[in-house]
C-alpha cells in the first residue's frame, strides 16, 4: 500500500514577469454603457444595390421573422437567418407592381402580406406561394400606408393622398368604412395592440387622429396636433401611449389622458422619417427584464434610441446615408434600416441561434439518434481517461496547480539574452504595443542601440518600416522619435548602400513632414484658443 502524504507546500522565490506593454488610460466616463453595447451588438450587414429609396420595411410576426422591404416598384423578402451567414440575396422578389411600392404589412400569423403602391392599388400576397390573392382598389390617389390590425385577421387599414382612411374586408375585397376627416395627405397609421377596433393615422395636416370603427358617424375619436407634417406614428406596446414623428421631433402622447403630450424629443437635425419600438435586455441573460425603447431614424443619417421611461436618449448611431425606414423584429434579434439610396443596413444580434435551428432540425429530419452510452472497460482507451474532465463539486477541496506562465517568443529570447533576435521576432509580429514594450525592456538592459547596430539589412528594413508607421503616434513618439534619429545616425552607411532602405527612409521623411504639418496647424489652433480660454478663465 502506498502511503499518501500531503505534499508540503513549497513556494518559488521570484516570479517570472512577462514583457508587457504600458497600460492604456481608462476613460473617466465609460464610453460604452450596457445599453449602447447592446445596440452595437447588432452585427451589421449591408444589402446593397436595391434600386432606390427603401420606403417600407415590415417584419413577419411569426418566427423565423422574415422581413419584407419595399423599394421602387418591387418588394423583396429576406430571411434574417441567412443574414447571419452573410447571405444578402433575397429569398424572393415580387416586381409585378405598376408603380412604386409605398407600404407593406404582414398579417398577424405571417402568412399574408399586403402591399400598397402609388397607383392606388393594394394587393395581398400569399407569403409561401408568392401568388397575389386579392386586389383592393378604391383609393383615387397614391396609397401611402397599409396596415393589418394587430389582433384581427380579416380587415386591413389603408390611407393615401386622397386624405381618406379606408377600412377593408380582405376576404370579400370590399370596403367596410371610409373615414373622412384629414385635410391633407394621410401618410401613416398604426393599429392598437390592445383593441381590434382602434387605430391611429397621421397626416400632413399636422394632426394625428384616433379612430374607432365602432363609432357610428365615422368621425375621429381624438385628435392631436403634432405641429409638423406627420411622417410616422406608432402605438407603444401598452396601447395607451402613441409616438408621432414629424419634422425633426418625436412626440409622445398619452391617449388615455385625453391626448396630452408627454414629451417631445428633438435631437434629430433633419426630418424624422420612421420610428419603431424595440426592446432592450437589461440583464445580460436577456429575455427576463426587457425595457421598451423607441428607435427613430431621420434624414440626417442618425438612428437614435429613446428611453421613454426616463425620457432620455440612450444611444445614437450614425449611418452614411439619409435613413428612410426602420424596423425591429418581434424577437428583437434583427434590426433593419433602409436608406434613401437603396442600401439596407440589416443587423443581427447573436443569440440562441442553435436552439432555434435545433428545433428546426428536429422538425425537418425527425428524431435524432441518441448515442448509446457504453460501459467503460479496461480494454477501451477511454477507460484510462475517465474522470479527467470531471468538474469539481461545490464542497470539494481543490488542489491548485500553479499556473504556467505562457511566454511569448520574444520573452523566451529575452530570457536567453538574445536581444536582437527578440527585437526581430517582435517586429515580425506586427503588434506595435509589444514592439515598444520590448524596446523599453532593451533600454532598461542598455542593449537597444547595440541591437540596432547588429541588425542586418533586411531586419533594418523591418525596423524602419515599423518606425515609419508608428514613430509619429503620440503614445510611442517619445521613445520612437529618439530611436529613429539614432537609427539613422548609426546606420547611415547601410541605408545609403541599399535602395530598399532608401525607400523606407523616403516614406519616413514623408510621414514626419506630415506630422510637422499637423503640429503646425494644431499650434495655430492653440494660438486661437488660448486667449479665449484665458478670457473665459478670468470670469
Amino acid at each position: 500500500m502506498a502511503e499518501i502524504r500531503p505534499e508540503q507546500q513549497t513556494t518559488t522565490i521570484s516570479r517570472t514577469f512577462l514583457i508587457k506593454p504600458k497600460l492604456k488610460p481608462k476613460p473617466r466616463t465609460q464610453s460604452q454603457t450596457p445599453e449602447s453595447k447592446y445596440w452595437s451588438s447588432f452585427k451589421s450587414t449591408q444589402i446593397p444595390n436595391l434600386v432606390s429609396s427603401i420606403s417600407s420595411i415590415s417584419f413577419s410576426p411569426s418566427a423565423p421573422h422574415l422581413f419584407a422591404a419595399a423599394y421602387s416598384a418591387s418588394l423583396s423578402l429576406f430571411s434574417p437567418l441567412s443574414l447571419s451567414d452573410g447571405d444578402v440575396s433575397p429569398s424572393f422578389t415580387i416586381s409585378s407592381f405598376s408603380d412604386v411600392v409605398s407600404s407593406l404589412s404582414f398579417r398577424l400569423d405571417g402568412l399574408l402580406l399586403a402591399a400598397s403602391d402609388l397607383s392606388g392599388l393594394i394587393r395581398v400576397f400569399d407569403v409561401k406561394t408568392r401568388t397575389p390573392l386579392r386586389r383592393l382598389r378604391s383609393h383615387t390617389r397614391p396609397v401611402r400606408f397599409v396596415k393589418y390590425p394587430v389582433l384581427d385577421k380579416l380587415h386591413l387599414l389603408s390611407g393615401g393622398d386622397d386624405a381618406v382612411v379606408k377600412f377593408w374586408d380582405v376576404a370579400g375585397e370590399s370596403l367596410v368604412l371610409d373615414l373622412m376627416g384629414h385635410k391633407d395627405y394621410v401618410r401613416c397609421g398604426d393599429c392598437s395592440p390592445v383593441s381590434a377596433d382602434m387605430f391611429i393615422t397621421g397626416s400632413y395636416d399636422h394632426t394625428v387622429k384616433v379612430w374607432d370603427v365602432r363609432v357610428e358617424n365615422s368621425r375621429s375619436v381624438l385628435e392631436v396636433n403634432h405641429g409638423k407634417p406627420v411622417e410616422d406614428v406608432i402605438y407603444l406596446p401598452s396601447g395607451g401611449l402613441i409616438a408621432t414623428a414629424g419634422g425633426n421631433s418625436v412626440k409622445i402622447w398619452d391617449l388615455i389622458g385625453g391626448g396630452r403630450m408627454v414629451y417631445s424629443m428633438e435631437s434629430h437635425n433633419k426630418t424624422v422619417t420612421s420610428i419603431c419600438v424595440g426592446r432592450v435586455g437589461k440583464g445580460n441573460g436577456g429575455g427576463e427584464a426587457m425595457e421598451d425603447r423607441i428607435l427613430s431614424v431621420g434624414l440626417d443619417g442618425y438612428m437614435k434610441v429613446f428611453d421613454y421611461g426616463n425620457m432620455k436618449i440612450t444611444h445614437s448611431m450614425r449611418f452614411p446615408a439619409p435613413l428612410m425606414s426602420v424596423s425591429l423584429s418581434p424577437d428583437c434579434r434583427t434590426r433593419v434600416i433602409g436608406t434613401a439610396n437603396g442600401i439596407i443596413f440589416a443587423g443581427r444580434r447573436k443569440g440562441k441561434e442553435n436552439e432555434e435551428s435545433g428545433r428546426g432540425n428536429v422538425l425537418g429530419f425527425g428524431s435524432t439518434v441518441e448515442p448509446e452510452r457504453r460501459v467503460l472497460r479496461p480494454t477501451y482507451f477511454r477507460y484510462f481517461h475517465r474522470g479527467q474532465s470531471e468538474k469539481p463539486a461545490e464542497g470539494d477541496y481543490l488542489v491548485m496547480r500553479t499556473k504556467k506562465v505562457k511566454l511569448a517568443e520574444h520573452d523566451k529570447l529575452l530570457k536567453k539574452f538574445r536581444h536582437k533576435d527578440a527585437l526581430v521576432s517582435v517586429l515580425g509580429r506586427k503588434n506595435p504595443e509589444n514592439v515598444v514594450a520590448v524596446m523599453e525592456e532593451l533600454v532598461a538592459r542598455k542593449k537597444l542601440l547595440k541591437c540596432v547596430s547588429n541588425l542586418d539589412a533586411e531586419e533594418l528594413g523591418l525596423l524602419l518600416m515599423f518606425l515609419n508607421k508608428h514613430a509619429t503616434m503620440p503614445r510611442y513618439s517619445s521613445l520612437l522619435m529618439g530611436l529613429t534619429q539614432k537609427v539613422i545616425e548609426m546606420r547611415a552607411e547601410d541605408i545609403r548602400s541599399s535602395d530598399a532602405l532608401k525607400g523606407h527612409i523616403r516614406n519616413l521623411k514623408r510621414s514626419i513632414e506630415e506630422e510637422i504639418r499637423i503640429q503646425h496647424s494644431l499650434q495655430e489652433i492653440q494660438g486661437i484658443i488660448s486667449p479665449l480660454l484665458r478670457i473665459a478663465g478670468r470670469r
Binding site: Q8, Q9, T10, T11, T12, I13, S14, R15, T16, F17, K20, K22, L23, K26, R28, K415, M439, E440, E441, L442, V443, A444, R445, K446, K447, L448, L449, S478, L479, G482, L483, K486, R534, G537, R538
Partner: protein, 809 residues
Amino acid sequence: MMRGGRSFVSSPPAFSNDAKKLLVCAANTVSIFSSATGLQITSLEGHTALVTSVIVVPASNPAAKVLCYCWTTSLDGTIRYWDFSVPELIKTIDIRMPIFSMVIPSFLDVPVEDNEKHRDLFAYLSTEDTKETQEKPKVLRRQIRKCNLSKSRLVGRIILGETKKPEVLTVSPSGKFFGIRNKFKLHIWKVPDLGSEHAAVRKITLHHTKKITAIAFHPTQRIVAAGDVTGRILTWRGFGNRTFAAGKGVANEKLIDVQEDNPGVRDNDDADSCSTWHWHPAEVNVLSFSSDGAYLYSGGKEGVLVVWQLDTGKKKFLPRIGSPLLYFIDSPDPTLSSISCADNQIHLLKMPSMGILKTISGIKAPCSYPEMYNGLGNGIAFDQTAGLVAVRTENYCIQFYSLFDDRGISKVQVRERNHQPGDDVTVVVTAVALSLDGSLMSTAEVKLAEEGIGGLVCLKFWASGSQNKEFSLSTIVYEPHRDAGISAVTFHPSGHMVVSSSFGGDFKVWICNSESIQNDQMHRNSSWTCHAVGSYKKKPMTAAAFSADGSVLAVAVETLITLWNPYKNVLLSVLGETLTPVVTLSFIGKSDNLVAASRGSKPQLSLWSMSKLSLSWSYKLCVEAVASAVDLSSFAVLALLPEPSNETTFEGRDGVILLFNAIDPVPTAIWSVRKAKGGALGLLQVNPSSAEEISIDGKTPEVLLVYMNGDHEYVLFDPYSKDAYEVSVSHKEGLAALEPKGQAGQFGYASIYGELPEFDMKRNGTPWVPSFPYERPWETIFAGSSHNLPPLTKLCRTFLESLLEKRTE
C-alpha cells in the same frame, strides 16, 4: 530599547542535530530559528562584537541528538560554549584576538576507539594578531592558529599560516583536512591523528591562475573543489597523496612523480588530477558537496543554485533566487538544507526537489543607486500605526518589515521586471510614501534612458486590503511631470490626496476617486486623478509637506518655500530664503512650525513659524533625516557630523540625533550614532490599544523613536525616557549603533558643540526675521500659476502702488 534589522548573512548559519533549529549569526547575537515555521525562537546573547562562526556539537549517537551545545566565536576575541536549548552560556575562552573563523575537525572525525583517556578538543582559528604591529609587516597579521578548547588556551606559538586578509577556514566533512583559500592558492592542512598538542601539521598548496573564492571538501574521497572569480569550478582529485601519505622515502616518491601524468594539475602540486567546470558567469560564492558525495552544489553572484553530478558533470538548476548566494548549508536531515542570500534572506530548501519551504526574512540591505538618485531621501517610509517600515530593495520591491517583531511581513513588487543580480542599475524606485493609516502607498520609479532615449518616470498608487497588508496596484501614471523626475511624494493626512513635486518645475495634487462595485463583494475600486497643477516661476520643486490638519501644503522651490491651499490650489504665501535648495520639509505636529533641511555646500536646518511667516532659528547642520509625528510638538533630526570629527570623542560615530521641542532651538536630547549616512529616523506613536504588547525596558512609552542606520539595522527607544542612558551603557562596549551622550539638553548640547566650532549657533540677533516678499510686493504679484492671477486692473494698481511706496522711501 529594542534592536533589530540585523544581518543574518554575515556568517554561515548552522543546523541543530535534529535539524529543527537553525542557528544564525546576527550581529552580536546568535538567533535561533525554527526550521518548521521560520520564526525566531530565542537568541544567544553575550558576545560584544560580531559573531563570526557557530559550530553545533554533533551527536555521536542517535540518543544524543537532543543535546544542544554549540561553540561560537566572535570578533571580540572570545570563544563561547552554549547550551542553546535553555539558552545558557557554559564556558568562555578569551584569546584576546579577533576571530574570523573557527573549525573543530575532531567533531567530524568519528572516534573509532573511545578509549579511557579523555581527549582534548582542538580547534583551528583564523585570527588577527593585534599586538605585534611593530615587529611584523602589517600585511601578514592574519594567522591560522590552533587552540585547545578543553584547556581553554591557544596551543603554544603554533602559527599554521599567515595571510593578508581574514580567511574563512573550511573543514572536510571527514574531519581529516581543513583548508583556506589565499588569493591564487589553496592551502590544505591535514589534521594530526593524535590528540596531542604539538603534533606536526602538514600542509600542501594547490595553485590556480585566478583568484579563488570558494572551497569545499568531498565527504569521503580526497577531492577538493574550488571556485574562482571567473566562475570556474576546479576539482582536484587525490590531493596530498604524496605529502600526507606518511611515506618516508622521499626519493621513491620522486621517482613515481616522474612517471605519473597528472592531467590539469599546475606546477608541481600534489594532486592526481584537476578538472574544470564552467557555467557560472561571475564568481562562485557557494561550493558544497552533498553528504553522499555524489553531487556538488555551487552558486554565485547570478543567484542560481547549480547541482552538478560529480561523475558525469550533468547540471540541474534552481534558478531565479534573485540575489547573490552566500552560503549553502546541509542539515543532518537529508531532506532539508538552507541557502543564505545577500539580500538578507535565508531560504530553507526541501532537498531533492529544491522547493522552498520557508524563508527567514531579514530586512533587506540598502542597494546601491546611481549617484544622481542618492540625494533623494533614502526610500524609507514608516507606517506609524502598525509599526512597520517600508524599505526599497534591489529587485524593484518594497519590503514591509515589522519593527516590533523584527521580521519581514510582506513585499510589494513595484515594477514587474525580472531582476538579474549584478546587472547595471537602470530602474530605480526613487520614492516611497505611506498614508498615515498605512493603507495607501505611493511609489515613484525611474527608468534611466539609454543614450537619451527611452527614459520613463512612473508614479504608482497602491491600496491595501482591509485585513492584510497586501498592496494592490490602483493607478499608474506614466510621466506624471513629463520627463522630469519626481523629487518628493507626500500623502495628505486624510489619505485621499497626494502631492508629487518634480524637478521640472511643477507639482501635482492627486486625489482618489473611490467607487465601490457592489456585485464584486465589496471590492473597492479606487483611481487617482490629477486634481491641480501648480508651479512657481518654473523653478524646480524639491520637497513637499502637508500640515497636520491638511489645510496647508508647503512646497519647497529650491531655496524658497511656497505655501498653498491644496483644495483650491491657491498660493498663500512665499517664505524665503535658505542658502541651498531645501531637500526635506516637515510640519511639526499640530504646532504651526515648519522644519526645512537643505544640503549641499552650505547645509542648513531651519525652523519657520507659520503664524509669523518668518524664520525662527537655523543651524548649519547637514541633515540626513527629519522625523515628526502628527500629535507631537517635538521633532527629531539625524545630522551627519562633519568629516574631521574628533576620533576619541566620537569613536567612529558619524552622526547625531537631535531631539528638538518645536520652537526651542536648544535640543532636549542628543544621541550620537554610527553609520548615519543613508540612515533614517521615524517617530512611532504607540496607540493605547496595542500598548500592552509593546513594552520597552519594562514600561510602555507613548512615543518611540526609530533610528535606522545606513545598513538598515535599527533601534527603537523612548526618546523621553530617563533611563535610556543606563540601558545603553551596558551595550557601550559593543557594536552598539547608538549611545546617548546625555539627555539633559543643555549639558549634552554644550558637550558636543563646545568642541565643534562649525556648530556655532547661527541664531539671528533679531528674534523674528520678516520674510522679504512683504517689503517688495512686485516680486510676488506675478508669482504663481497663471490661472489664479488677479485681473490686470488689480495687478496694475498694486504694482503702481508698490512703485509709489518705493519712491516715498
